[in-house]
Amino acid sequence: MTNDNLPVSLRLRLDKALLPVATSFAENAGSAMGLGRSEALKLTLAVEEVFSYLASAAEGAEESDGLTLEAVGRVYCVELNVFFNIPKVDFRLLNLAAHYSPGDESSLNELGLFLASRSVDQFSLSDATSGGMQLKLVKEKLYPPSAEQEAPACHALDDFEIVTPEVGQIKEAARLLKAYYSALYLPDAYVLPAKLADMVLSGEIGTLVAIDRHGDLGGAIFWRFHAKSSLRSYGPYVFCQPDPGPIAQALVEAALNRVAKTQAVSFVCRYPTPELPKEYFEYLGDLEYFSPDGTKHSWPQFYRQLKEDPGEVVWCNPTLQPFLKEQYTRLALARDVHLYQVEGEKRPACSVIGTHLDRVQGHATLRPMLDGMDAEENLNRHLALIMTEGIRTIFCNVDLGLAWQVSWVPALQEMGFSPRLVIPFGGKADLVVFQHLGDQE
């Protein structure tokens, strides 16, 4: 991690007169942190719309703590966090499946949010650790299309060592990945060699490679945090080796040693290659992936814990109880399970769902962000929208650390989602991955 990660921040009143200050901050921070002109302006537009919307919402609120903008440069992207504390703000137009009707007066005020969410590459909404809420907007650098460069020469290595790669080796590894592995094993972030190199430089992705004394590559492994206590790993990828076992094992051991003393508790293999040495991992379950021609491919998922299990309190909807009990017994996980279901208590009106579309892999993942009475309807809208895009591999992650997320389980099951596996410590607590199988099972 470099010093470029040091955030810059601006605190200001939620007063529309200060809008130029907020937009100027976003534009200048975006440009200074590496975005091109066009991307910096899109980030600025997002901030402009969010600020205007929140300032309008604050006018009706009894009290407001103002707003903090915080920009962090991450080499391949700029992350702009908006911290605020305003009760009863309606965020429904942040939903991918939300639609704005020009003739609808009531949604006119929220048009800005609709625009904001679509002018950045990622957004997420969560409770801020300091109280109030945090809206995270991420705008990525625009990379030129990767040069049609051939993959570097690749041969069986007589001997090898595991090292942290230089930029050139990261880009070579990206080209070898593309040459020797099907798209199934490559998350979208890894398609552009320069972007992958920047993500490693930013510290967001960790990597190790196997090289021989001439510097020729024989394999690679990658990992990144996807929750506070959970790392997601990719690989191990082994190139051109008659026996991939020794390099695969060495890469896994070295990666585990590298992350053993971080805050990560679990190391999840969501993109395991056939070379993964299974004896280091625990089997979580299978996910089904559908290719565009409708072929179904079962993909086993693995994980291991990096620390001794400290136990965990989890929420569970009664309909999920048999599945959880089976999984926790099989994985020998000590869990204090508390039941939760909606019984007429007050809930916000509108829910928000985060959607990640991986167009390279052809799958979508839904993530509940805010609870609302319209959760079931909202899920249905998202499902329909994703299916009209031709994507048939659809997941929904439910965090058992948040009771309100567990209350969505009956709706998910009603819609044809089935619990497939539990990722220990995958969210605030354990994460259950549901998959929409509909009539495909």
Partner: protein, 368 residues
């Protein structure tokens, strides 16, 4: 306090440091895993407890004395250590466990930009204390499970202030003999402080094993760590110490927190030191017999081991060590999973009484 404000107050090396979370108390763990007993085989504690004389001191401790501060510099115990090792009382500094004296040494010799040198797969506290104090820990890979002397010498630079070396090593049990330690100290030639952590030295019966205390006069840059937690069975009272030349200890004393060793620990340690011979003999006998038993049983199960000196054994499993930890916990057996020591798929088992070792072997066999 906003996140941004807090960020400004916290040094970068603290932000990147991950706190060690110790395991929950036994009753909580038993409740969590649904077991009615728990064999603790994870912390290398002495299954025989403290020596009888120390037990007597503890049981006779007058509660009203708890209102009084202890001796701030552990006066009587330092006198006793001096007699025991034929050194000067001022050559000893006591701490609230040996972990505390690690911090004394690092604070005394390191300043901004400095580093320490140690191994990647050894007792982690040297590395932790250095890193959360803002100093780099240069980690040298073990060679054949042992400290690699030449690689450690090569790892030094002009900013290296302390070399930490654990003899015998925890968790591998490997050790350097006196000739190798002398060669190493000769090559260091006084340019760094060399800390030899002898936490498990009382378990070693090998004739060539060096007594660091006897080398201090010859090598004034040598600092020896010892503890009352392991052989003397006083882990719960937290008391350990360092010894070195008068000049070096005089420097370290400046960073030493006085009054940090409680009065029961001081008195029990004194009794243990002066009346510990029979206890050491019994403990060694038990450790020897149970390590033989574990060697035989692990061989029967086809498991590789790393078994050398000390009251512990490493076992390589054909499965994730953290998974094995949970499955063993579900049977009331608590071992140390070794991923955190950078030995994935290995566990470390502390030697316990035979009943505990039998329970461990049965549980291990059931999960393989």
């Amino acid at each position: 306090m906003s996140k941004t404000t807090l960020d400004k107050l916290v040094p970068g090396y603290i932000k990147e440091f991950e706190a060690y979370i110790p395991s929950k108390p036994d009753p909580e763990l038993m409740k969590l895993y649904g077991v009615d007993h728990l064999y603790r085989l994870n912390n290398n504690e002495n299954p025989l407890g403290p020596p009888a004389a120390a037990q007597e001191v503890i049981s006779q401790f007058p509660p009203c004395k708890a209102a009084l501060y202890p001796s701030g510099d552990v006066y009587y115990l330092r006198q006793a250590l001096a007699r025991h090792f034929e050194m000067e009382p001022d050559q000893f500094l006591l701490g609230n466990g040996a972990n505390e004296v690690i911090a004394f040494a690092i604070k005394a010799f390191c300043e901004a930009g400095d580093n320490i040198v140690t191994a990647d797969k050894t007792f982690a506290v040297y590395e932790w204390v250095a890193e959360f104090s803002g100093f780099k820990a240069k980690l040298v890979p073990l060679k054949d499970f042992g400290f690699d002397d030449e690689a450690m010498l090569r790892a030094r630079d002009e900013l290296s202030k302390i070399i930490f070396f654990c003899n015998p090593n925890n968790p591998t049990g490997t050790w350097w003999d006196e000739a190798k330690l002398r060669r190493f100290l000769d090559k260091v030639d006084g340019r760094q402080i060399v800390v030899v952590d002898e936490a498990y030295c009382e378990f070693v019966e090998e004739p060539g094993f060096p007594d660091g205390m006897r080398l201090i006069n010859e090598y004034p840059n040598l600092v020896v760590f010892r503890t009352f937690s392991k052989m003397y069975g006083l882990a719960g009272l937290r008391i350990g110490y360092l010894a070195g030349s008068l000049d070096v200890v005089d420097i370290i004393r400046r960073t030493c927190v006085v009054y940090s060793v409680n009065v029961v620990a001081q008195e029990a340690a004194l009794a243990a030191l002066e009346n510990g011979e029979e206890h050491i003999r019994s403990t060694r006998e038990l450790v020897r017999a149970e390590k033989d038993y574990l060697a035989k049983e692990t061989a029967r199960l086809g498991l590789a081991t790393q078994m050398d000196q000390g009251c512990f054994v490493m076992i390589r499993l054909p499965m994730s060590d953290t998974f094995a930890y949970r499955k063993l916990m579900a049977q009331g057996i608590m071992v140390r999973s070794m991923t955190g020591f950078r030995f994935p798929n290995w566990i470390r088992v502390s030697v316990g009484k035979h009943e505990a070792m039998q329970a461990f072997v049965a549980a291990l066999e059931s999960i393989l």
